[in-house]
Protein backbone atom coordinates (compact mmCIF):
# COMPACT_ATOMS: atom_id res chain seq x y z
CA UNK A 1 0.00 0.00 0.00
CA UNK A 2 2.94 2.34 0.07
CA UNK A 3 6.28 1.25 -1.29
CA UNK A 4 5.03 0.20 -4.68
CA UNK A 5 2.93 3.29 -4.98
CA UNK A 6 5.83 5.53 -5.81
CA UNK A 7 7.02 3.43 -8.72
CA UNK A 8 3.55 3.42 -10.16
CA UNK A 9 3.22 7.16 -9.95
CA UNK A 10 6.42 7.63 -11.89
CA UNK A 11 5.24 5.33 -14.61
CA UNK A 12 1.97 7.17 -14.81
CA UNK A 13 3.63 10.53 -15.07
CA UNK A 14 5.87 9.26 -17.84
CA UNK A 15 3.38 7.58 -20.05
CA UNK A 16 -0.04 8.90 -19.51
CA UNK A 17 -0.10 12.44 -20.90
CA UNK A 18 0.21 11.34 -24.50
CA UNK A 19 -2.32 8.62 -23.95
CA UNK A 20 -5.00 10.89 -22.59
CA UNK A 21 -5.79 12.60 -25.84
CA UNK A 22 -7.64 9.91 -27.71
CA UNK A 23 -9.90 7.78 -25.67
CA UNK A 24 -13.53 7.59 -24.88
CA UNK A 25 -15.45 8.03 -21.62
CA UNK A 26 -17.67 5.35 -20.10
CA UNK A 27 -20.91 6.32 -18.38
CA UNK A 28 -22.26 5.55 -14.93
CA UNK A 29 -25.87 5.06 -13.81
CA UNK A 30 -28.27 7.92 -14.55
CA UNK A 31 -29.06 9.88 -11.41
CA UNK A 32 -25.56 9.32 -10.13
CA UNK A 33 -23.53 10.76 -12.95
CA UNK A 34 -21.19 13.69 -12.49
CA UNK A 35 -19.72 15.29 -15.56
CA UNK A 36 -16.46 15.91 -13.72
CA UNK A 37 -15.96 12.26 -12.69
CA UNK A 38 -15.11 10.19 -15.69
CA UNK A 39 -14.35 6.52 -16.24
CA UNK A 40 -11.70 6.64 -18.83
CA UNK A 41 -11.70 4.06 -21.63
CA UNK A 42 -8.54 3.02 -23.34
CA UNK A 43 -10.42 0.89 -25.85
CA UNK A 44 -13.99 1.67 -26.73
CA UNK A 45 -16.31 -0.31 -24.50
CA UNK A 46 -13.77 -1.29 -21.83
CA UNK A 47 -15.69 0.92 -19.34
CA UNK A 48 -12.40 2.15 -17.83
CA UNK A 49 -11.16 -1.38 -17.06
CA UNK A 50 -8.04 -1.43 -19.18
CA UNK A 51 -6.67 -4.66 -20.57
CA UNK A 52 -3.10 -3.38 -20.21
CA UNK A 53 -0.82 -1.49 -17.93
CA UNK A 54 -0.04 2.18 -18.41
CA UNK A 55 3.05 2.07 -20.55
CA UNK A 56 2.37 2.66 -24.24
CA UNK A 57 4.04 -0.65 -25.06
CA UNK A 58 2.53 -2.63 -22.17
CA UNK A 59 1.24 -6.08 -22.97
CA UNK A 60 -2.27 -7.39 -22.53
CA UNK A 61 -2.85 -8.59 -18.98
CA UNK A 62 -2.46 -12.25 -17.99
CA UNK A 63 -5.48 -14.59 -17.98
CA UNK A 64 -5.41 -14.54 -14.19
CA UNK A 65 -5.68 -10.76 -14.11
CA UNK A 66 -8.24 -10.86 -16.92
CA UNK A 67 -10.43 -12.99 -14.63
CA UNK A 68 -9.93 -10.49 -11.84
CA UNK A 69 -10.82 -7.68 -14.21
CA UNK A 70 -14.04 -9.45 -15.08
CA UNK A 71 -14.90 -9.87 -11.40
CA UNK A 72 -14.41 -6.14 -10.93
CA UNK A 73 -16.55 -5.34 -13.95
CA UNK A 74 -19.28 -7.61 -12.67
CA UNK A 75 -19.16 -5.95 -9.26
CA UNK A 76 -19.18 -2.55 -11.11
CA UNK A 77 -16.37 -1.32 -8.88
CA UNK A 78 -15.40 1.70 -10.99
CA UNK A 79 -18.98 2.63 -11.80
CA UNK A 80 -20.08 2.38 -8.19
CA UNK A 81 -17.15 4.37 -6.93
CA UNK A 82 -17.87 7.13 -9.45
CA UNK A 83 -21.51 7.08 -8.35
CA UNK A 84 -20.45 7.21 -4.71
CA UNK A 85 -18.38 10.34 -5.41
CA UNK A 86 -21.10 11.95 -7.53
CA UNK A 87 -21.99 14.69 -4.96
CA UNK A 88 -18.52 16.22 -5.29
CA UNK A 89 -18.55 19.50 -7.21
CA UNK A 90 -15.08 19.35 -8.67
CA UNK A 91 -13.53 22.34 -10.44
CA UNK A 92 -11.45 19.96 -12.57
CA UNK A 93 -12.28 16.61 -14.12
CA UNK A 94 -11.22 13.53 -12.16
CA UNK A 95 -10.44 10.46 -14.25
CA UNK A 96 -10.74 6.93 -12.92
CA UNK A 97 -9.46 3.72 -14.39
CA UNK A 98 -8.50 0.20 -13.39
CA UNK A 99 -5.37 -1.08 -15.07
CA UNK A 100 -2.36 -3.32 -14.75
CA UNK A 101 -0.44 -0.17 -13.67
CA UNK A 102 3.30 -0.73 -13.95
CA UNK A 103 2.76 -4.45 -14.54
CA UNK A 104 4.60 -5.30 -11.31
CA UNK A 105 3.74 -8.09 -8.94
CA UNK A 106 2.14 -5.51 -6.66
CA UNK A 107 1.17 -1.91 -7.36
CA UNK A 108 -0.88 0.16 -5.00
CA UNK A 109 -3.82 2.18 -6.28
CA UNK A 110 -2.73 5.79 -6.56
CA UNK A 111 -3.72 9.31 -7.48
CA UNK A 112 -1.67 10.92 -10.24
CA UNK A 113 -1.83 14.73 -9.86
CA UNK A 114 -0.35 15.36 -13.30
CA UNK A 115 -3.34 13.73 -14.96
CA UNK A 116 -5.98 14.08 -12.22
CA UNK A 117 -6.37 10.34 -12.34
CA UNK A 118 -7.13 7.59 -9.83
CA UNK A 119 -5.84 4.23 -10.95
CA UNK A 120 -6.98 1.01 -9.28
CA UNK A 121 -4.31 -1.54 -9.94
CA UNK A 122 -5.39 -5.14 -10.60
CA UNK A 123 -2.28 -6.42 -8.89
CA UNK A 124 -3.30 -4.70 -5.67
CA UNK A 125 -6.66 -6.38 -5.74
CA UNK A 126 -5.02 -9.76 -6.21
CA UNK A 127 -2.77 -9.00 -3.26
CA UNK A 128 -5.64 -7.67 -1.14
CA UNK A 129 -7.51 -10.94 -1.74
CA UNK A 130 -4.49 -12.88 -0.55
CA UNK A 131 -4.13 -10.60 2.47
CA UNK A 132 -7.78 -11.09 3.32
CA UNK A 133 -7.40 -14.88 3.20
CA UNK A 134 -4.36 -14.77 5.42
CA UNK A 135 -5.80 -12.35 7.94
CA UNK A 136 -9.06 -14.23 8.30
CA UNK A 137 -7.14 -17.42 8.84
CA UNK A 138 -5.04 -15.69 11.49
CA UNK A 139 -8.09 -14.27 13.17
CA UNK A 140 -9.86 -17.63 13.17
CA UNK A 141 -6.94 -19.41 14.76
CA UNK A 142 -5.40 -16.77 17.00
CA UNK A 143 -8.36 -14.49 17.76
CA UNK A 144 -6.05 -11.49 17.72
CA UNK A 145 -8.55 -8.87 16.84
CA UNK A 146 -12.27 -8.21 16.53
CA UNK A 147 -14.12 -10.82 14.42
CA UNK A 148 -14.17 -10.29 10.69
CA UNK A 149 -15.33 -12.12 7.57
CA UNK A 150 -13.19 -12.59 4.53
CA UNK A 151 -15.50 -10.55 2.30
CA UNK A 152 -15.71 -7.77 4.85
CA UNK A 153 -11.97 -7.61 5.18
CA UNK A 154 -11.37 -7.51 1.45
CA UNK A 155 -14.06 -4.93 0.76
CA UNK A 156 -12.89 -2.76 3.65
CA UNK A 157 -9.26 -2.91 2.70
CA UNK A 158 -9.98 -2.08 -0.91
CA UNK A 159 -12.37 0.76 -0.03
CA UNK A 160 -9.96 2.28 2.48
CA UNK A 161 -7.15 2.39 -0.04
CA UNK A 162 -9.41 3.97 -2.65
CA UNK A 163 -10.65 6.52 -0.13
CA UNK A 164 -7.07 7.32 0.84
CA UNK A 165 -6.20 8.00 -2.79
CA UNK A 166 -9.40 9.98 -3.19
CA UNK A 167 -8.17 12.07 -0.27
CA UNK A 168 -5.05 12.97 -2.25
CA UNK A 169 -7.25 13.79 -5.25
CA UNK A 170 -9.55 16.02 -3.20
CA UNK A 171 -6.64 17.88 -1.59
CA UNK A 172 -5.20 18.51 -5.02
CA UNK A 173 -8.34 19.33 -7.02
CA UNK A 174 -9.96 21.49 -4.33
CA UNK A 175 -6.70 23.20 -3.31
CA UNK A 176 -7.27 22.15 0.29
CA UNK A 177 -4.75 23.64 2.74
CA UNK A 178 -3.00 20.66 4.32
CA UNK A 179 -1.06 21.70 7.40
CA UNK A 180 -0.25 18.19 8.65
CA UNK A 181 1.52 15.43 6.77
CA UNK A 182 -0.43 14.69 3.61
CA UNK A 183 -0.20 10.92 3.92
CA UNK A 184 -1.79 11.10 7.37
CA UNK A 185 -4.35 13.56 6.03
CA UNK A 186 -5.31 11.09 3.28
CA UNK A 187 -5.77 8.40 5.95
CA UNK A 188 -7.96 10.83 7.86
CA UNK A 189 -10.13 11.24 4.77
CA UNK A 190 -10.33 7.45 4.45
CA UNK A 191 -11.60 7.31 8.04
CA UNK A 192 -13.90 10.31 7.94
CA UNK A 193 -15.95 9.53 4.85
CA UNK A 194 -17.16 6.02 5.85
CA UNK A 195 -18.07 7.34 9.29
CA UNK A 196 -20.74 9.46 7.58
CA UNK A 197 -22.41 6.40 6.06
CA UNK A 198 -23.72 4.44 8.99
CA UNK A 199 -22.45 1.71 11.23
CA UNK A 200 -22.02 -1.10 8.71
CA UNK A 201 -20.12 0.89 6.13
CA UNK A 202 -17.95 2.50 8.79
CA UNK A 203 -17.07 -0.79 10.45
CA UNK A 204 -16.23 -2.49 7.17
CA UNK A 205 -13.85 0.24 5.99
CA UNK A 206 -12.21 0.92 9.35
CA UNK A 207 -11.72 -2.79 9.96
CA UNK A 208 -10.13 -3.36 6.57
CA UNK A 209 -7.73 -0.50 7.19
CA UNK A 210 -6.93 -1.41 10.79
CA UNK A 211 -6.41 -5.10 10.08
CA UNK A 212 -4.03 -4.39 7.25
CA UNK A 213 -1.81 -2.07 9.27
CA UNK A 214 -2.04 -4.12 12.44
CA UNK A 215 -0.76 -7.06 10.45
CA UNK A 216 1.99 -4.96 8.84
CA UNK A 217 3.09 -3.80 12.28
CA UNK A 218 3.02 -7.36 13.59
CA UNK A 219 5.24 -8.32 10.66
CA UNK A 220 7.83 -5.85 11.93
CA UNK A 221 7.22 -3.05 9.47
CA UNK A 222 7.38 -0.23 11.99
CA UNK A 223 10.60 1.77 11.71
CA UNK A 224 13.42 0.95 14.07
CA UNK A 225 17.03 1.86 14.63
CA UNK A 226 19.40 0.18 12.23
CA UNK A 227 22.88 0.22 10.85
CA UNK A 228 23.82 3.26 8.75
CA UNK A 229 24.23 2.45 5.07
CA UNK A 230 27.57 3.93 4.13
CA UNK A 231 28.94 1.49 1.58
CA UNK A 232 29.50 3.59 -1.56
CA UNK A 233 29.27 0.46 -3.74
CA UNK A 234 25.85 -0.48 -2.46
CA UNK A 235 22.92 0.05 -4.83
CA UNK A 236 20.86 1.13 -1.83
CA UNK A 237 20.77 4.86 -1.19
CA UNK A 238 23.26 5.77 1.47
CA UNK A 239 22.15 6.94 4.83
CA UNK A 240 24.56 7.78 7.60
CA UNK A 241 21.94 7.83 10.31
CA UNK A 242 20.83 4.92 12.45
CA UNK A 243 17.23 6.13 12.21
CA UNK A 244 16.80 6.35 8.43
CA UNK A 245 13.77 4.09 8.53
CA UNK A 246 11.90 6.94 10.23
CA UNK A 247 12.34 9.14 7.15
CA UNK A 248 9.26 7.91 5.28
CA UNK A 249 6.68 10.58 4.58
CA UNK A 250 4.02 8.03 5.57
CA UNK A 251 3.32 7.31 9.19
CA UNK A 252 4.48 3.94 10.50
CA UNK A 253 2.17 0.95 10.19
CA UNK A 254 1.20 1.26 13.86
CA UNK A 255 0.67 5.00 13.68
CA UNK A 256 -1.66 4.59 10.71
CA UNK A 257 -3.63 1.91 12.52
CA UNK A 258 -3.90 3.91 15.75
CA UNK A 259 -4.80 7.15 13.96
CA UNK A 260 -7.68 5.61 12.07
CA UNK A 261 -9.06 3.59 14.97
CA UNK A 262 -8.84 6.71 17.13
CA UNK A 263 -10.78 8.81 14.61
CA UNK A 264 -13.41 6.09 14.28
CA UNK A 265 -13.76 5.77 18.05
CA UNK A 266 -13.79 9.56 18.46
CA UNK A 267 -16.49 9.92 15.82
CA UNK A 268 -18.64 7.03 17.00
CA UNK A 269 -17.65 5.72 20.45
CA UNK A 270 -20.56 3.28 20.61
CA UNK A 271 -19.90 1.55 17.30
CA UNK A 272 -16.16 1.29 17.90
CA UNK A 273 -16.17 0.59 21.64
CA UNK A 274 -15.27 -3.05 21.01
CA UNK A 275 -12.05 -1.94 19.30
CA UNK A 276 -10.93 -0.18 22.46
CA UNK A 277 -12.19 -3.00 24.70
CA UNK A 278 -10.20 -5.48 22.64
CA UNK A 279 -7.05 -3.43 23.23
CA UNK A 280 -6.58 -2.09 19.72
CA UNK A 281 -6.16 1.38 21.14
CA UNK A 282 -4.45 2.23 24.44
CA UNK A 283 -6.67 4.09 26.91
CA UNK A 284 -4.38 7.08 26.99
CA UNK A 285 -4.86 7.71 23.27
CA UNK A 286 -8.55 6.83 23.42
CA UNK A 287 -9.11 9.77 25.76
CA UNK A 288 -7.97 12.17 23.05
CA UNK A 289 -10.03 10.72 20.21
CA UNK A 290 -13.16 12.87 20.52
CA UNK A 291 -10.98 15.97 20.18
CA UNK A 292 -9.10 14.50 17.23
CA UNK A 293 -12.32 13.63 15.43
CA UNK A 294 -13.72 17.10 16.09
CA UNK A 295 -10.63 18.71 14.60
CA UNK A 296 -10.97 16.53 11.53
CA UNK A 297 -14.68 17.14 11.22
CA UNK A 298 -14.11 20.91 11.45
CA UNK A 299 -11.42 20.71 8.77
CA UNK A 300 -13.70 18.70 6.49
CA UNK A 301 -16.60 21.08 7.03
CA UNK A 302 -14.49 24.10 6.22
CA UNK A 303 -12.53 22.84 3.26
CA UNK A 304 -14.50 20.06 1.56
CA UNK A 305 -18.16 20.29 2.54
CA UNK A 306 -18.76 23.47 0.47
CA UNK A 307 -17.94 21.36 -2.60
CA UNK A 308 -20.58 18.75 -1.82
CA UNK A 309 -23.99 18.87 -3.48
CA UNK A 310 -26.31 18.21 -0.55
CA UNK A 311 -29.27 17.02 -2.64
CA UNK A 312 -27.08 14.47 -4.42
CA UNK A 313 -25.57 13.53 -1.08
CA UNK A 314 -29.00 12.52 0.21
CA UNK A 315 -29.36 10.11 -2.69
CA UNK A 316 -25.90 8.70 -2.09
CA UNK A 317 -26.58 8.23 1.61
CA UNK A 318 -29.84 6.45 0.87
CA UNK A 319 -28.07 3.78 -1.15
CA UNK A 320 -26.33 0.70 0.16
CA UNK A 321 -22.76 0.55 -1.07
CA UNK A 322 -21.52 -2.74 0.27
CA UNK A 323 -23.24 -6.08 -0.27
CA UNK A 324 -24.65 -7.97 2.72
CA UNK A 325 -21.66 -10.32 2.56
CA UNK A 326 -19.28 -7.40 2.66
CA UNK A 327 -20.65 -6.02 5.90
CA UNK A 328 -21.03 -9.37 7.64
CA UNK A 329 -18.88 -9.31 10.77
CA UNK A 330 -17.93 -12.98 10.76
Amino acid sequence: MKSILHAAVLVAAMFLPAALTNWAFAQVAPGFSNSKIVLYEKEKGDRGYWRTGLASDSKQISPERMALRERMMKRRVLEQYAEFLSPLRLPYTLLMIASDCSGSEWDSPYYDPDNHLINMCYSFIAEAEKSADLLVQLQNTQKLWTPVSRDQLFAGLFASVLLHETGHAIFDLLNVPVFGREEDAADFMAAFIPLQFGTETARTVIKGFAYYWAYSAAQGQDPKLGTPRVNPNSPEPQCRLSFCSFSDEHGSASQRMYNVICLAYGGDPVTFKDFVDAGWLPQQRAQDCTREYQLLSAAFNKTVLPFIDQEQMKKVRARTWFTAEETKEK
Binding site: P177, F179, G180, R181, A185, K224, L241, S254, R285, E292
Partner: protein
Amino acid sequence: MLSRYTTHSLITAAVLMWSAASQAPAQQSQVQVAYDAPTNAQLQPIYQRLKQRAVLEEMQVFLTPLHLPRPLTIKTAQCGATTLQQRPADTATVCYEMIAAIERLVSQRASDRNLAQSVIIGAFIQTALHETSRAIFEILDVPIWGRERDAADRLAALIMTQFGEDVSRTAITGTADLFMWSDKTWTGSDFSDTGSPDYQRFFNYVCIAYAAAPLQFGDMVDRGILPKRRAERCQGEYDQIRRAFDLRIMPYVDPDLLIKARATPWLNWAPPK
Protein backbone atom coordinates in the same frame (compact mmCIF):
# COMPACT_ATOMS: atom_id res chain seq x y z
CA MET B 1 26.81 15.68 14.12
CA LEU B 2 24.52 17.47 11.78
CA SER B 3 25.83 20.85 12.88
CA ARG B 4 29.20 20.18 11.41
CA TYR B 5 27.63 19.76 8.02
CA THR B 6 25.22 22.61 8.03
CA THR B 7 26.85 25.34 9.99
CA HIS B 8 29.94 27.28 9.08
CA SER B 9 32.28 28.06 11.86
CA LEU B 10 29.54 30.10 13.29
CA ILE B 11 28.93 30.30 16.79
CA THR B 12 31.22 32.00 19.05
CA ALA B 13 28.71 31.59 21.77
CA ALA B 14 25.47 32.57 22.73
CA VAL B 15 23.19 34.94 24.14
CA LEU B 16 19.99 35.00 22.22
CA MET B 17 19.36 38.56 21.29
CA TRP B 18 16.52 39.40 18.98
CA SER B 19 17.96 42.77 18.10
CA ALA B 20 14.77 44.22 16.77
CA ALA B 21 13.43 44.60 20.26
CA SER B 22 14.34 48.24 20.26
CA GLN B 23 13.19 48.86 16.68
CA ALA B 24 9.55 47.85 16.73
CA PRO B 25 7.17 48.81 19.47
CA ALA B 26 6.06 45.74 21.36
CA GLN B 27 2.77 47.32 22.32
CA GLN B 28 1.55 46.85 18.73
CA SER B 29 1.82 43.13 19.13
CA GLN B 30 -1.26 41.18 20.06
CA VAL B 31 1.01 38.73 21.75
CA GLN B 32 1.16 38.85 25.51
CA VAL B 33 4.00 37.25 27.39
CA ALA B 34 4.54 36.01 30.93
CA TYR B 35 7.20 34.19 32.90
CA ASP B 36 5.51 32.18 35.65
CA ALA B 37 7.77 31.71 38.64
CA PRO B 38 8.43 28.01 39.29
CA THR B 39 7.85 26.49 42.71
CA ASN B 40 10.53 23.88 42.05
CA ALA B 41 13.81 25.46 43.16
CA GLN B 42 15.77 23.46 40.59
CA LEU B 43 13.95 25.25 37.80
CA GLN B 44 14.67 28.69 39.23
CA PRO B 45 17.93 29.25 37.31
CA ILE B 46 16.18 28.52 33.99
CA TYR B 47 13.37 30.90 34.89
CA GLN B 48 15.85 33.62 35.86
CA ARG B 49 17.95 33.13 32.72
CA LEU B 50 15.03 33.27 30.31
CA LYS B 51 13.64 36.33 32.03
CA GLN B 52 16.97 38.08 32.07
CA ARG B 53 17.48 37.44 28.38
CA ALA B 54 13.96 38.67 27.65
CA VAL B 55 13.39 35.86 25.17
CA LEU B 56 9.62 36.16 25.29
CA GLU B 57 9.65 39.91 24.74
CA GLU B 58 11.72 39.25 21.65
CA MET B 59 9.25 36.65 20.42
CA GLN B 60 6.58 39.24 21.02
CA VAL B 61 8.29 41.70 18.73
CA PHE B 62 9.01 39.02 16.17
CA LEU B 63 5.30 38.25 15.99
CA THR B 64 4.23 41.89 15.61
CA PRO B 65 3.11 41.39 11.96
CA LEU B 66 0.53 38.85 13.12
CA HIS B 67 -2.88 40.48 13.61
CA LEU B 68 -5.06 38.06 15.51
CA PRO B 69 -8.75 38.43 16.35
CA ARG B 70 -7.93 37.86 20.02
CA PRO B 71 -4.72 37.96 22.03
CA LEU B 72 -2.23 35.13 22.08
CA THR B 73 -0.26 34.51 25.24
CA ILE B 74 3.22 33.02 25.19
CA LYS B 75 4.49 32.01 28.58
CA THR B 76 7.13 29.99 30.28
CA ALA B 77 5.94 27.90 33.19
CA GLN B 78 6.54 24.94 35.43
CA CYS B 79 4.29 22.25 33.95
CA GLY B 80 5.07 19.10 35.92
CA ALA B 81 6.21 17.53 32.63
CA THR B 82 8.07 18.63 29.50
CA THR B 83 4.77 19.57 27.84
CA LEU B 84 1.33 20.42 29.15
CA GLN B 85 -1.39 17.81 28.84
CA GLN B 86 -4.18 20.36 29.25
CA ARG B 87 -3.29 23.46 27.29
CA PRO B 88 -4.96 26.69 28.45
CA ALA B 89 -6.92 28.45 25.69
CA ASP B 90 -5.04 30.73 23.29
CA THR B 91 -1.78 30.12 25.11
CA ALA B 92 1.59 28.77 24.04
CA THR B 93 3.48 27.41 27.03
CA VAL B 94 7.17 26.58 27.04
CA CYS B 95 7.76 24.40 30.08
CA TYR B 96 10.84 24.91 32.23
CA GLU B 97 11.02 21.14 32.40
CA MET B 98 11.44 21.05 28.60
CA ILE B 99 14.31 23.52 28.75
CA ALA B 100 15.87 21.47 31.55
CA ALA B 101 15.52 18.30 29.47
CA ILE B 102 17.07 20.00 26.45
CA GLU B 103 19.96 21.29 28.52
CA ARG B 104 20.51 17.86 30.03
CA LEU B 105 20.56 16.14 26.66
CA VAL B 106 22.84 18.76 25.18
CA SER B 107 25.28 18.53 28.06
CA GLN B 108 25.54 14.78 27.42
CA ARG B 109 25.88 15.01 23.65
CA ALA B 110 27.38 18.29 22.52
CA SER B 111 31.08 18.13 21.86
CA ASP B 112 31.83 21.69 22.86
CA ARG B 113 30.29 24.68 24.55
CA ASN B 114 29.58 26.63 21.40
CA LEU B 115 27.68 23.77 19.87
CA ALA B 116 25.82 23.24 23.12
CA GLN B 117 24.73 26.86 23.24
CA SER B 118 23.57 26.95 19.65
CA VAL B 119 21.55 23.76 20.04
CA ILE B 120 19.91 25.10 23.17
CA ILE B 121 18.92 28.28 21.34
CA GLY B 122 17.68 26.43 18.26
CA ALA B 123 15.73 24.01 20.41
CA PHE B 124 14.17 26.85 22.38
CA ILE B 125 13.06 28.52 19.15
CA GLN B 126 11.60 25.20 17.98
CA THR B 127 9.68 24.65 21.20
CA ALA B 128 8.37 28.20 21.30
CA LEU B 129 7.35 28.24 17.61
CA HIS B 130 5.75 24.79 17.85
CA GLU B 131 3.61 25.84 20.80
CA THR B 132 2.86 29.22 19.23
CA SER B 133 1.76 27.49 16.02
CA ARG B 134 -0.72 25.39 18.00
CA ALA B 135 -2.13 28.52 19.64
CA ILE B 136 -2.39 30.25 16.24
CA PHE B 137 -4.30 27.24 14.86
CA GLU B 138 -6.69 27.54 17.75
CA ILE B 139 -7.18 31.31 17.61
CA LEU B 140 -7.64 31.40 13.83
CA ASP B 141 -9.70 28.20 13.82
CA VAL B 142 -7.38 26.83 11.15
CA PRO B 143 -8.59 23.58 9.55
CA ILE B 144 -6.06 20.89 10.33
CA TRP B 145 -5.74 17.94 7.98
CA GLY B 146 -3.31 15.40 9.44
CA ARG B 147 -1.95 15.22 12.96
CA GLU B 148 -2.09 18.53 14.75
CA ARG B 149 1.34 18.35 16.34
CA ASP B 150 2.96 17.51 12.99
CA ALA B 151 1.09 20.47 11.54
CA ALA B 152 2.59 22.70 14.25
CA ASP B 153 6.06 21.36 13.40
CA ARG B 154 5.54 22.05 9.71
CA LEU B 155 4.40 25.61 10.39
CA ALA B 156 7.30 26.16 12.80
CA ALA B 157 9.73 24.86 10.17
CA LEU B 158 8.24 27.15 7.55
CA ILE B 159 8.60 30.19 9.83
CA MET B 160 12.20 29.24 10.66
CA THR B 161 13.09 29.26 6.97
CA GLN B 162 11.62 32.65 6.03
CA PHE B 163 14.14 34.90 7.77
CA GLY B 164 17.41 34.20 6.03
CA GLU B 165 20.09 31.61 6.48
CA ASP B 166 21.40 32.80 9.83
CA VAL B 167 18.06 32.24 11.50
CA SER B 168 17.35 29.00 9.70
CA ARG B 169 20.83 27.68 10.39
CA THR B 170 20.51 28.23 14.11
CA ALA B 171 16.89 27.16 14.40
CA ILE B 172 16.89 24.17 12.05
CA THR B 173 20.28 22.89 13.08
CA GLY B 174 19.49 23.16 16.77
CA THR B 175 16.16 21.43 16.22
CA ALA B 176 17.69 18.68 14.11
CA ASP B 177 20.53 18.00 16.54
CA LEU B 178 18.13 17.81 19.43
CA PHE B 179 15.88 15.30 17.68
CA MET B 180 18.86 13.34 16.39
CA TRP B 181 20.14 12.97 19.93
CA SER B 182 16.84 11.61 21.15
CA ASP B 183 17.35 8.52 23.25
CA LYS B 184 13.76 7.32 23.17
CA THR B 185 13.19 4.08 21.34
CA TRP B 186 9.78 3.54 19.77
CA THR B 187 8.12 0.16 19.59
CA GLY B 188 4.60 -1.26 19.57
CA SER B 189 2.08 0.88 21.41
CA ASP B 190 4.57 3.77 21.73
CA PHE B 191 3.36 4.62 18.24
CA SER B 192 -0.10 5.32 19.60
CA ASP B 193 1.16 8.67 20.91
CA THR B 194 -0.46 11.76 19.39
CA GLY B 195 3.01 13.15 18.90
CA SER B 196 5.48 11.79 16.40
CA PRO B 197 8.82 10.20 17.28
CA ASP B 198 11.70 12.67 17.43
CA TYR B 199 13.31 10.85 14.52
CA GLN B 200 10.28 11.49 12.31
CA ARG B 201 10.20 15.10 13.46
CA PHE B 202 13.87 15.40 12.53
CA PHE B 203 13.07 14.56 8.91
CA ASN B 204 9.96 16.75 8.85
CA TYR B 205 12.02 19.81 9.80
CA VAL B 206 15.04 18.96 7.69
CA CYS B 207 12.90 18.24 4.63
CA ILE B 208 11.22 21.65 4.74
CA ALA B 209 14.56 23.37 5.38
CA TYR B 210 16.13 21.56 2.45
CA ALA B 211 13.34 22.60 0.08
CA ALA B 212 13.39 26.19 1.36
CA ALA B 213 17.14 26.54 0.89
CA PRO B 214 18.67 23.77 -1.22
CA LEU B 215 21.96 25.63 -1.48
CA GLN B 216 22.24 25.94 2.27
CA PHE B 217 21.04 22.48 3.21
CA GLY B 218 21.83 20.49 0.05
CA ASP B 219 24.84 18.84 1.64
CA MET B 220 22.50 16.90 3.88
CA VAL B 221 21.50 14.81 0.88
CA ASP B 222 25.06 14.43 -0.38
CA ARG B 223 26.19 13.31 3.03
CA GLY B 224 23.45 10.75 3.48
CA ILE B 225 21.57 12.57 6.22
CA LEU B 226 18.39 13.20 4.27
CA PRO B 227 17.70 10.06 2.19
CA LYS B 228 17.22 10.77 -1.52
CA ARG B 229 13.81 9.16 -1.57
CA ARG B 230 12.47 11.66 0.97
CA ALA B 231 14.53 14.54 -0.45
CA GLU B 232 12.76 14.17 -3.79
CA ARG B 233 9.46 14.90 -2.09
CA CYS B 234 10.58 17.86 0.00
CA GLN B 235 9.78 20.55 -2.53
CA GLY B 236 6.21 19.25 -2.66
CA GLU B 237 6.00 19.22 1.14
CA TYR B 238 7.37 22.75 1.34
CA ASP B 239 5.04 24.08 -1.37
CA GLN B 240 2.11 22.50 0.42
CA ILE B 241 2.74 24.07 3.83
CA ARG B 242 3.56 27.37 2.17
CA ARG B 243 0.26 27.27 0.25
CA ALA B 244 -1.63 26.35 3.40
CA PHE B 245 0.02 29.26 5.22
CA ASP B 246 -0.83 31.66 2.40
CA LEU B 247 -4.46 30.52 2.39
CA ARG B 248 -5.21 30.42 6.10
CA ILE B 249 -2.67 32.51 8.01
CA MET B 250 -1.30 35.13 5.63
CA PRO B 251 -4.61 37.05 5.66
CA TYR B 252 -3.83 37.81 9.33
CA VAL B 253 -0.30 39.01 8.64
CA ASP B 254 0.37 42.69 8.00
CA PRO B 255 2.49 42.61 4.82
CA ASP B 256 4.34 45.85 5.58
CA LEU B 257 5.27 44.74 9.07
CA LEU B 258 6.30 41.39 7.64
CA ILE B 259 8.74 43.12 5.31
CA LYS B 260 10.19 44.98 8.28
CA ALA B 261 10.47 41.75 10.20
CA ARG B 262 12.24 40.08 7.30
CA ALA B 263 14.62 43.02 6.94
CA THR B 264 15.59 42.75 10.60
CA PRO B 265 18.73 40.87 11.60
CA TRP B 266 17.08 38.64 14.17
CA LEU B 267 19.90 36.77 15.75
CA ASN B 268 22.88 38.60 17.09
CA TRP B 269 25.55 36.65 18.82
CA ALA B 270 27.44 38.11 21.71
CA PRO B 271 30.84 36.73 22.70
CA PRO B 272 30.88 34.39 25.71
CA LYS B 273 31.27 35.88 29.10
